[in-house]
Symmetry: C2
Subunit: 213 residues, 2 copies
């Protein structure tokens, strides 16, 4: 068996990948509804999973609001080191954006233990204390989304954007439905699928709308 | 609409998730073929994507060989910071294992530029210089797998294990087929799907066979 590699220069791999994704979407009869199409395509680029065409849902005018928040130097808060690692650091730097992950913090571990909750939930409480607009990028913990929901209900939090893409089987779908029931800007991966990689891909897709490479 | 959350203690979420995964696999008529079933289940836990039942393929006796390598304190080399971030650090520490990612190294960037290749490929050359057994956990760059293939062919490298789960559309499937054509221990996610999260999940599934929580 001869395995043939496609000859593509390193810097052209991403562009070629997006061409293939766009072509496949066209074959599927999906007419890209810009501007959110760029987010859908980047998530497919990250997962090779075309289910995200159906799974990703967007609140009204969310792209406009998200970009406004980024222009206003919103902080980004993740629920995993993995999502943090996946966010483009050069883009953050150029746009003057800080990203935070509190999962390893001692005060978070202590609070979670005290309250019998997860560290992810305790992180959201810590994030509620940040100055300025906050974009939440939650790719792992449904308990983080549930805590965001509660904090919004209690008027303790008004997120600039909630990216909600936890993956899994216990309270994952419900936690996403809770966010969709709020009047906050959201980008949600419906159903069981998602992940830290998906959350990071959504963040990057947003940053790349403003980032000059 | 009333959204009902399942009442599960934080420490029980993972166990409950694996019960749900096992049940669904039973419904699908998939009889777990231990010991590799633990790897398949952990990847599904990470992705909620049951395609991995079919996609994950294993070379003969791979689990035995991988665990031998881990007992012999094999180094783990990843092709992304994201895969690094996803590997359980407490398990690494307890088992006395080092994990490396050379993507940010200056000598790697320089070598990639010189050779007109990717940094991921240059990282594999650097990894070939490590002492002792090496487990490669490649979740992103097909060029890393291609370079591993070439180094093995040139007898410059004899990996203890190649975890090959790049995701994407350009040379991804071919790079995985190249690894499967070698006589090296491998765990491969066939097709376009995969990711750094999948590579990290496979590593963790292996570590958890020996890690005492």
């Amino acid at each position: 068996m001869k395995i043939q590699l496609e000859q593509v220069l390193p810097k052209e791999i991403e562009e070629r990948s997006f061409q293939i994704i766009t072509q496949k979407l066209n074959e599927m009869g999906w007419t890209p509804d810009e501007p959110c199409a760029s987010i859908v395509k980047r998530v497919i680029h990250t997962t090779a999973d075309f289910d995200y065409v159906k799974n990703l849902i967007f609140s009204k005018d969310v792209l406009e609001r998200a970009l406004d928040a980024i222009r206003n130097r919103a902080s980004i808060v993740t629920d995993t080191q993995m999502a943090m690692a996946g966010i483009n650091k050069q883009a953050l730097k150029q746009l003057g954006i800080e990203a935070y992950n509190f999962m390893g913090d001692d005060d978070v571990a202590q609070k979670a233990k005290q309250n019998g909750t997860t560290r992810a939930a305790a992180c959201m409480e810590k994030a509620a204390g940040l100055e300025g607009p906050v974009i939440f990028a939650i790719g792992n913990a449904p308990t983080a989304l549930v805590r965001i929901y509660e904090l919004v209900q209690e008027r303790e939090l008004a997120p600039a954007l909630v990216i909600g893409t936890p993956v899994g089987f216990v309270n994952v779908e419900q936690s996403k439905e809770l966010i969709c029931s709020l009047k906050v800007p959201y980008i949600i991966a419906k159903g069981q699928k998602g992940g830290s990689n998906v959350a990071a891909a959504v963040v990057n897709a947003l940053l790349y709308q403003l980032y000059k490479r």
